[in-house]
Amino acid sequence: MLVRQAVRAAAVDLRFSLVDQTKIVTAASELGRNTLDYGGGGTVRLQVLQDGGRRGIRLTFEDKGPGIPDIERALKDGYTTGGGLGLGLGGARRLSNEFSIDSRPGEGTRVTIARWTT
């Protein structure tokens, strides 16, 4: 999982604490797996953020898969259409400071998360 390595490297560069590093890398792992398993593959964009003294990482996962018909439901813990635990999306949201999702059935899904230094 190259995504995890890239996110870890960026988080280390930005001097994220070990817990913050672990959270953003784990969130990236959940979303990356979703992109692969449900989206049929896609792209990840990593942006380094600067806001006054705060530093952050924004990750955008984009796929052209089937999309998510009911986002509210997909965010609920325990809901899955695959064989997983259904924790990926909701878990990634909890592990991030910012979370947004945009999905259109038949067109694809875009999930954006950001985490800031604490």
Binding site: L18, G84, G88, R94
Partner: protein, 139 residues
Amino acid sequence: MERIPILKMGDYLLVTIQVDMHDRLATTLQEDLADRIVKARSRAVLIDISALEVVDSFIGRMLGSIAAIARVLDAETVVVGMRPAVAITLVELGLALPGVRTALNVEKGMDILRQSLSDTVNGHDSQPVAEPADADAQG
């Protein structure tokens, strides 16, 4: 084919997970471990995850499945060596590993397994103990 080694140490099977897990590797590990439990008649499995910097819901699910498979085959599993940052992240993710016993390190994990094995052995081997007179009252 890539495999995770399973070491036999006396009555215990020891698995050290050091590489990134993916679906096929996880499935192979489950099958290998189930085979070894039966072939070696092992009653105890230790899984060392101290090398893992990230445990996501996929790995969490795998650990739960392994513990459940082992239990069905009459073996106890203890997961040892979780890093503090991983524990914090797992709980926030929503995964507290229900049904998986954990210990801080291999040594403490072996203590737990030794204890639970000797409990079972005593339970199986000893003669039934006479019930105290007030056993019914207790419930």
